[in-house]
């Protein structure tokens, strides 16, 4: 049983080698190489750390019982800092130097959008494990691209379905002025109309905003019955902390498209009461999920967060497709992925052929103080069927 190998192929040898370095035919015998060009340093480092630790845990688990198709799984990690230019370079290098034809775990949506047009040229396939931008499986979709994770619009849809029987009527939206923020608010406002509620305005803070006081004052001035925010990472933490200091949440509940412990934990008590869609929750009671949570706590003695769960699911989807295809060539795995049905950490899942989007259940969670957990953590308060939360083929909105 070969142990887990994280190959760091120094490019030095390759670049200086006069005759092209002949790579052993990896196709059928050697390890199954999976490329993960993600943000290990820089502003996205915390998210990248979750992707990397879960890939390592999954490889360890799979290799412990014989690997995939009898071959060990090997992840190649490269740091992109969340910058599309770096991601392109690293991904191309993995494809051309290390004969990688499977890419997972890209961090920023802009990185995914940069890599996707090249998949055909590289004859490689890409499974988005954490990217939320709706356009990945809509106008920018390309064959060989799939998405196992819940998209931004799907999260907003689940939230809207929960809000149908919530008392609040008027909503105000706050997000950052960039692609994900704008599409998230747009989708949410569309869904509000669908459930007979109204949006009384929205504001987009410039990227890099650190002080949210003027936006908190604006929300208070608009005085909605509920506030929708599309903020994550450092921005989410900063807003929650500052809004709590202004006692904003005593006036109105706040809801969000996706609740990650990544930004609710550093917000501390300020996050209690936050309701939102969830792309993955450790609290979802399901045998496959409980097994994963138990393994994760054994390895890291902390609860898996959004990006851990979604990366594990992406690996599960890939494994299922490879087993179904019986080999790892791109065309075979892509064919296997189309209309693939399986059970994942989020319950039943079906990879749609027409746009590669995984049809799966949607969850709504609330952050609360829970016994046995040192910091406020989400609990599942509603689940919605795949049919209810997944947009139609190649669409990112719900007509």
């Amino acid at each position: 049983m070969s142990t887990l190998m994280i190959a760091r192929r120094p490019a030095l040898a390759a670049l200086l080698a006069a005759p092209a370095l002949v790579r052993p035919a990896a196709a059928q015998s050697g390890p199954i190489r999976i490329g993960v060009p993600t943000a290990m340093t820089g502003t996205w480092a915390a998210l990248g750390a979750q992707v990397v630790r879960t890939c390592r845990l999954w490889a360890k688990t799979v290799n412990a019982d014989g690997g995939l198709l009898g071959r060990p799984v090997e992840f190649l990690f490269e740091d992109t800092q969340g910058v599309p230019a770096n991601c392109l370079r690293k991904a191309q290098e993995m494809v051309e130097r290390d004969r990688v034809n499977i890419l997972l775990g890209l961090m920023a949506s802009s990185e995914a959008l940069a890599v996707m047009p090249k998949l055909a040229e590289w004859n490689a396939l890409f499974i988005s494990s954490v990217n939320g931008a709706g356009s990945i499986t809509a106008e920018h979709w390309v064959p060989n691209a799939f998405r196992s994770n819940i998209s931004g619009p799907m999260g907003a849809r689940a939230l809207a379905l929960w809000l149908r029987n919530a008392p609040q009527e008027s909503f105000f939206s706050l997000s950052l002025d960039y692609a994900w923020g704008r599409s998230s608010v747009e989708t949410f406002e569309g869904l509000l109309r669908g459930i007979g509620k109204r949006s009384i305005g929205s504001v987009f803070a410039p990227v890099g905003t650190r002080d949210y006081s003027s936006f908190i004052t604006r929300v208070r001035q608009a005085n909605p019955q509920a506030l929708y925010i599309a903020l994550t990472g450092d921005d989410g933490t900063a807003f929650l902390r500052q809004a709590a200091q202004f006692r904003l949440f005593e006036r109105m509940p706040v809801v969000t498209e996706t609740v990650d412990m990544l930004f609710t934990r550093p917000a501390g008590d300020a996050a209690i009461g936050l309701v939102g869609g969830s792309r993955y929750s450790f609290a979802f009671d399901h045998p496959a999920n409980n097994d994963f949570v138990q393994r994760f706590r054994a390895e890291h003695n902390e609860l898996p967060d959004t990006y851990d769960g979604e990366q594990w699911q992406a690996c599960q989807v890939l494994a299922e497709a490879v087993r179904k295809a019986g080999r790892t060539e791109t065309e075979a795995v892509v064919a296997a992925l189309r209309d693939l049905e399986m059970t994942s950490v989020k319950g039943p899942l079906k990879m749609r052929a027409c746009d590669g989007q995984a049809e799966q259940q949607g969850f709504v969670v609330r952050v609360a103080r829970r016994e046995g957990i040192p910091h406020p953590a989400p609990e599942v308060i509603a689940t919605y069927s795949a049919a209810e939360v997944t947009p139609s083929c190649r669409a990112s909105s719900f007509s």
Binding site: A45, G208, R210, S214, Q245, P266
Partner: protein, 289 residues
């Protein structure tokens, strides 16, 4: 919320942002004023201050102690860096400093990631500081009032230090004419070491004060440096008064800009910066080189 309350609230918001920006840019203008050096590592030092502050606060339970620990740690690091690297470069061109501080920024950012890991860190404010006070029956955080107070206090303290004390005289003399100051028997090398350490300490103090608002995270460094550059440029490089004015100008421009025309906010700061630099290359209060 009636318009007057709104205006007062926004003014207080702007003042608290200006105070934060003042702490951030003070260290940068001090270094530039005295040593004509642009410190690329300023953002990383600010981030270091946030991390050390949060860790000290959680360890000791006292927020005040974190406001001492952070500047101390960064000051010592600054002193060590100045003695080992910077002191060899004073005879060299500006670009040497730029590259050395760029190197320090890269190394320090990665060192922080290795020491504290990738996740954001935070500490809960003590109850005394996390309360609110009602301004025209609208809640306003006590912590932000403290920030404004600390900003004014630190501003007066630095102004008095520079204008009223012998050390202040020495610093100003060294900034205008290092050769002559040295000729008068002062060890300009030690003055520069002290100034660089003090500037690093101030950057870290800014970080420690910002931590309760932002929590300590790896993204802190890169955004802060741009605001600091803008303020120091608008106010006037090396001019203490200019930094205070620049902080207020940018604080109010961002707060009210974000409120009334958020669409243009991102580009507006730079338009203001270009206008000032074109009309007065030395900045509002600085003296052109």
């Amino acid at each position: 919320m009636d318009p007057l309350a709104l205006l007062t609230l926004q003014a207080l918001n702007a003042l608290s942002l200006s105070a934060l920006l003042f702490f951030i840019s003070l260290g940068l203008t001090l270094i530039f004023g005295i040593m004509r050096v642009v410190n690329f590592a300023h953002g990383a030092l600010f981030m270091l201050g946030a991390y050390v502050g949060v860790t000290a606060h959680n360890a000791s339970g006292s927020f005040l102690l974190s406001l001492v620990a952070a500047p101390l740690a960064a000051g010592l690091l600054g002193l060590a860096f100045e003695r080992t690297a910077l002191s060899r470069l004073y005879a060299r061109e500006h670009s040497a400093f730029l590259l050395v501080t760029f190197g320090l920024a890269l190394a320090l950012t990665e060192a922080i990631r290795l020491l504290w890991g990738a996740d954001a860190r935070q500490a809960e404010l003590p109850d005394a500081l996390s309360g609110i006070v009602f301004v025209m029956d609208e809640p306003f955080p006590v912590y932000r009032l403290l920030l404004i107070g600390a900003g004014v206090l630190c501003g007066l303290g630095c102004w008095a230090g520079l204008q009223r004390t012998r050390l202040g005289l020495l610093l100003r003399a060294a900034s205008q004419n290092p050769v002559m100051t040295a000729a008068l028997g002062n060890d300009v090398g030690r003055v520069r070491a002290f100034v660089f350490a003090l500037a690093c300490a101030l950057a870290a103090l800014g970080g420690a004060l910002a931590a309760p608002l932002l929590s300590a995270s790896l993204g802190l460094g890169s955004n802060v440096i741009i605001d600091a550059f803008v303020i120091v440029m608008i106010g006037g490089m090396g001019s203490f008064l200019g930094t205070a004015a620049g902080s207020l100008l940018v604080g109010f421009a961002q707060t009210f800009g974000n409120y009334y025309l958020p669409e243009l906010a991102l580009g507006m700061t730079y338009v203001v910066m270009i206008a000032v630099l074109v009309l007065r290359p030395g900045g509002l209060f600085g003296r052109p080189e």
